[in-house]
């Protein structure tokens, strides 16, 4: 059984998500709350496997929920509920430890599928998120293989933590290719591609955590 916590301040959406979770026998709802405080309390009490959280909560940001969830259980998967799946907040969320996103108007069946996917080790990613991740690491969006005849547009990206394979995966995602097609291009299975994406998310979180520590040092907080 996968323990799921829902954090959403809009009752209608909360009901909709709750219904979707309840309707799936392999999922167990360990909480459906509408505030950061309540979410933190439920996380501490139940250590959920998957957390679905909205970003704009009445008493704080969804980022706090993500951090609390990851702190309580590092293996916890957090899906951010977003309107379109491509706003800049998603990257912040991934940096904070989120491993995926869910669009608000998703069908109930899609909601359950997404939760199961992420719990099974998959990670949803859209072309715009892929682009944002690439940009975050200051990697050119255009594939390196495309640039063999072109002058290098910018110098070596600043110590990107991503492997060449992961970078290539992101580029293909950014072009709109699905995991099966990416697997064909890279000569791997779609499952492996899913693993790459999850790694990318984790690295982004680790990378960002390092930056956070550095910044905290700079500010004299640590």
């Amino acid at each position: 059984m996968v323990k799921v916590l829902l954090v959403e301040d809009e009752p209608e959406f909360l009901r909709r998500f709750s219904d979707a979770v309840r309707s799936e026998p392999t999922l167990s709802l360990c909480g459906a709350v509408g505030s950061v405080a309540a979410a933190c309390e439920r996380i501490a009490a139940t250590a959920p496997d998957v957390v679905l959280t909205d970003l704009g909560l009445p008493d704080g940001s969804g980022l706090q929920v993500i951090r609390a969830a990851v702190a309580r259980n590092p293996a916890c998967d957090v899906l951010v509920v977003t309107m379109f799946g491509d706003d800049g907040n998603v990257i912040d969320c991934i940096s904070a430890g989120a491993t995926g996103y869910l669009v608000k108007d998703a069908m109930p069946r899609d909601i359950a599928t997404a939760i199961l996917d992420v719990a099974a080790g998959g990670s949803p990613i859209s072309p715009s998120i892929a682009r944002r991740v690439l940009k975050h690491f200051q990697i050119s969006v255009r594939a390196s293989s495309d640039q063999v005849t072109a002058p290098a547009p910018d110098p070596t990206p600043v110590e990107s933590p991503l492997s060449a394979r992961e970078t290539e995966t992101l580029r293909l995602v950014a072009k709109g290719l699905n995991f099966r097609e990416i697997g064909e291009v890279l000569a791997v299975s779609p499952h492996t591609v899913t693993g790459h994406v999850k790694h990318i998310y984790r690295k982004l979180a680790v990378h960002s955590r390092g930056e956070a520590v550095y910044e905290a040092n700079q500010l004299g907080l640590l």
Binding site: S126, S128, D146, A150, K175, G176, L177
Partner: protein
């Protein structure tokens, strides 16, 4: 100390020697004169008259006999020193001819400015009493024969005196001549190019006139037929120099009175005219006219002095002082020439030596004039440099303001572009999402919509919003980014609906640059086609193909459904919408029916972006 004593002793010895030499120089003050024209010294028995030296006579030729004592012991060779002998003559010592100094005669006029130094053979000089006989010929200007206060003595003692006078009377003149004839034309050349700089012109003319006058002194022997012209040139140059100097002074003082200047020039002309009319009278020109120049110069000088007092400019003060000296020198020379009794009474030696000062004073004046012009020239250069600097600063300022203006214009243009884009988005929201929501609302309000229809309508609204966001979000206007997102979303949607989709992308470019609103229209068409396929086509397979090449972008969406003829979407309204969008895009579109299925195609001109193109064909 020893060293200093040695020097002191040397100096003392030298002074003693000089004193000895000076002591041996003889300057007789008396002579006897005989007014006859004879080639040889006339006999002593003739009626000689006693005269005091220096002496001048209006006779053409006069003989003088001068007695002097020579010491028993001669300190070196002796010489006779004549400070001047304007008309030439002959010199005898104890009856023996010492020298002939060229006299005016057949076809030539002589006027010696230089002093004469006549060495005396020791054999001719007797210890004790000696007699010098001197034939003096009148000089051609005043027609007077002048005997100077001559000197006899050791050559070493006299040579200094001789060379000193030679330098001042002759070498200086030669030097002045050279200088004026170099500087004059140079200044005139400057004035020729810059006519408004009259001071340069005046200076040039003054220098040349002074050069002409000096030439008169430098050339001492001349053919007779030139003499008249020679004097004319001399008087014209001398007077002209003074007049030009006055004009220069007035102009430097910023006193520009054309009448006065014309008057001065007119007076200048009077001299040569008088000389010509009087048949070359030295009295009319040299005395009357030149004499009248003096008060004129004095008055002008007074005006200059007054101006200098008022303006206190260094230039004017210096020039006034120099001219004042020149005027004084001119007065002095005038008095010397005219052998004024006053001068002879006050300074008999100066009168006797006939030292003319105007040459040097004029040189000084020319020097001051040159210095003034040089100072002005330098000031002008500095002013130009200053001006250049100011100009450069101004240019830099203008450049800066231009850069700012360009930046402003660029900003405004960007702002304008942003505003235009904003208007498009607003219009788009109004026409698209807005109207769709209003239609849905009004239909829901009157209860004419089933719940499923409402859900469908709202989902379409959200889909359209997503489309707008997809089209608007790429920051580099790359249509491929929007297309990637569009594909990602629709692939899932088709998959959920049970359709198998195949997405193909054929492009040589890594980037397809397209304005966001154009991209949006193209995506809307694609969305409309796909929605129609979902709703009506009952297809199981969709092939979406985007190809870019030869400056054209072509979108083909094919399905294997029942075809459009059988199910015209919404009574053909969807097709009309698509046609309208294609027109806005400047695109052509068409529908091809197949058995089974339909292909909708859109084609528009899209030149390749100015970006590196590469061999990247992605077919999936």
């Amino acid at each position: 100390m020893v060293f200093y004593k040695a020097i002191a002793r040397s100096i003392a010895t030298l002074l003693v020697l000089c004193a000895c030499a000076q002591a041996q120089i003889v300057r007789p003050r008396h002579a006897v004169a005989l007014f006859v024209d004879a080639d040889q010294p006339p006999a002593a028995t003739l009626p000689w008259q006693g005269v005091d030296l220096p002496y001048s006579s209006d006779q053409q030729t006069v003989w003088y006999r001068i007695r002097f004592e020579a010491p028993a012991q001669l300190a070196g060779a002796w010489a006779v020193y004549l400070p001047y002998l304007y008309g030439g003559g002959r010199l005898y010592l104890n009856g023996e001819l010492l020298t002939r100094i060229t006299e005016p005669g057949a076809g030539q006029v002589v006027r010696w400015e230089r002093p004469h130094f006549v060495p005396v053979p020791n054999s001719l000089l007797h210890p004790g009493s000696n007699e010098l006989a001197l034939r003096v010929v009148a000089e051609p200007v005043a027609h007077r024969g002048r005997v100077p206060l001559l000197a006899m003595g050791p050559q070493d003692a006299l040579r200094g005196e001789y060379e000193g006078r030679l330098f001042w009377v002759r070498t200086m003149s030669q030097f002045s001549l050279l200088a004026t004839w170099i500087v004059g034309p140079l200044m005139l050349a400057i004035w020729w190019r810059r006519r408004e700089e009259t001071l340069y012109g005046l200076f040039g003319v003054a220098a040349l006139l002074w050069g002409v006058r000096t030439l008169n002194l430098v050339i001492e022997v001349l053919p007779s037929e030139w003499w008249w012209w020679w004097r004319l040139a001399y008087h014209s140059a001398t007077g002209g120099f003074a007049i030009i100097l006055m004009v220069f002074l007035l102009r430097l003082a910023n006193l520009r009175y054309p009448v006065v200047e014309r008057g001065l020039m007119g007076f200048w002309l009077l001299g040569p005219i008088g000389f010509v009319l009087s048949g070359g009278s030295e009295w009319v020109t040299g005395r009357l006219w030149a004499g009248a120049l003096i008060p004129i110069c004095l008055v002008t000088l007074g005006v200059g002095l007054w101006a200098a007092w008022r303006t206190r400019t260094v230039e004017l003060i210096a020039l006034v002082a120099a001219i004042a000296m020149a005027v004084l020198a001119g007065v002095h020379d005038f008095l010397v020439t005219s052998t004024a009794p006053l001068l002879q009474a006050i300074a008999p030696d100066a009168a006797a030596h006939r030292v003319f000062l105007l040459h040097y004073a004029a040189d000084l004046v020319l020097l001051v004039m040159g210095a003034i012009l040089a100072a002005r020239f330098i000031r002008t250069l500095e002013a130009i440099a200053q001006l250049n600097q100011t100009l450069e600063t101004r240019v830099a300022e203008r450049e800066q303001s231009l850069v700012e203006k360009f930046a402003q214009v660029g900003h405004l243009e960007r702002q304008h572009a942003v505003d235009e884009e904003r208007q498009r988005i607003v219009r788009d929201l109004h026409d698209g999402l807005g109207s769709q929501l209003f239609v849905t609302l009004s239909r829901v309000e009157v209860g004419r919509m089933q719940q499923a229809d409402i859900v469908q309508a709202l989902r379409e609204c959200i889909a359209d919003m997503r489309l707008t966001i997809e089209a608007m979000s790429p920051d580099d206007n790359d249509f491929l980014v929007s297309w990637g997102n569009f594909r990602f979303r629709w692939e899932r949607q088709l998959q959920v609906a049970g359709l198998e989709s195949s997405w193909q992308l054929h492009t040589q470019s890594a980037v397809l640059e397209m304005a966001p609103h154009a991209g949006l229209q193209l995506l809307r068409i694609a969305q409309e086609v796909l929605t129609n396929i979902l709703k009506h086509a009952r297809a199981s397979q969709v092939v979406v193909r985007l190809a870019h090449g030869d400056g054209k972008l072509r979108l083909d969406i094919s399905d294997n459904g029942v075809g459009m003829q059988a199910h015209p979407p919404e009574g053909g309204r969807g097709m009309v919408n698509m046609q309208s969008r294609a027109r806005q895009l400047g695109a052509r579109m068409g529908v091809q029916q197949a058995q089974p299925g339909t292909t909708v195609w859109v084609e528009l001109e899209l030149p390749p972006a100015q970006l590196p193109t590469v061999n990247a064909t992605n077919a999936a």
